[in-house]
């Protein structure tokens, strides 16, 4: 079946502009995560959605970052007034929580470059 998809694959934006990154999780997966990966570095947790529960936003680095998940499926990560330090690969992952299988399925990522 289809995996996690993310769009766009690449985004170049000017400093100060807003950007929206989209994630389509695997159908039926109830948990969805956003991470940020700087060049060659580890994963930085941003936000986590689980079913209808309130999202865990503890990883968002500033109030310029926000995310929503509509209908328990598609998620959008929004970065307002982008800064050069926001340049990174943004990864989305989903998990079939209900089955007790906790492994995460990752999308290919969106490479964001802020000029």
């Amino acid at each position: 079946g289809a995996g996690v998809s993310q769009s766009p694959s690449n985004k170049v934006t000017e400093k100060g502009k807003d950007v929206e990154l989209r994630c389509d999780p695997i159908s039926g997966h109830t948990a969805l995560y956003w991470y940020r990966q700087s060049l060659g570095q580890g994963l930085e947790f941003l936000i986590y959605f689980q079913g209808n529960s309130a999202p865990d936003k503890s990883g968002l680095p500033s109030d310029r970052f926000s995310a929503e998940r509509t209908g328990g499926s598609v998620s959008t990560l929004t970065i307002q007034r982008t800064q050069q330090e926001d340049s990174a690969v943004y990864l989305c992952a989903s998990t079939p929580w209900a089955s007790g299988s906790y492994e995460q399925y990752f999308g290919p990522g969106t490479r964001l470059t802020v000029t």
């Binding site: 060659g40 580890g42 994963l43 947790f45 990864l91 992952a93 995460q104 990752f106």
Partner: protein, 112 residues
């Protein structure tokens, strides 16, 4: 708080030799442990996990890992390395009710 350490930034091994990528963790209670691999210009792929049961878990591409509770370790191993195993490897931990925490990653280079 949960944390994961991968003490080696880089591991080099000759093709055909055994490989080990180290991971230690800090979490209260019983951890859920994972290994992921990231090939160049590709997303992360799940390799294997330990949730409960046998301490030795086997995963994709001939990899295995051993959960050692006393040493709080979950080292990734493969008996015979392939050049195609060259990639970035991430260890991750999750404790019940909490988020996943990823280690900083270890770059594995398998030399022909």
């Amino acid at each position: 708080a949960q944390s994961v350490a991968q003490p080696e930034d880089q591991v080099n091994v000759a093709e055909g030799n055994p490989l080990t990528v180290k991971c230690t963790y800090s979490v209260s209670g019983n951890p859920y442990l994972f290994w992921y691999v990231q090939y160049p210009n590709r997303g992360l792929q799940f390799l294997l996990k330990y949730i409960t049961g046998d301490n030795l878990v086997k995963g994709s591409y001939g990899f295995e890992a051993e959960f050692n509770k006393s040493q709080t370790s979950f080292h990734l191993k493969k008996p015979s390395a392939l050049v195609s195993d060259s990639a970035l490897y991430f260890c991750a931990v999750r404790h019940y009710g909490q988020n996943f925490v990823f280690g900083p990653g270890t770059r594995l280079s398998v030399l022909p």
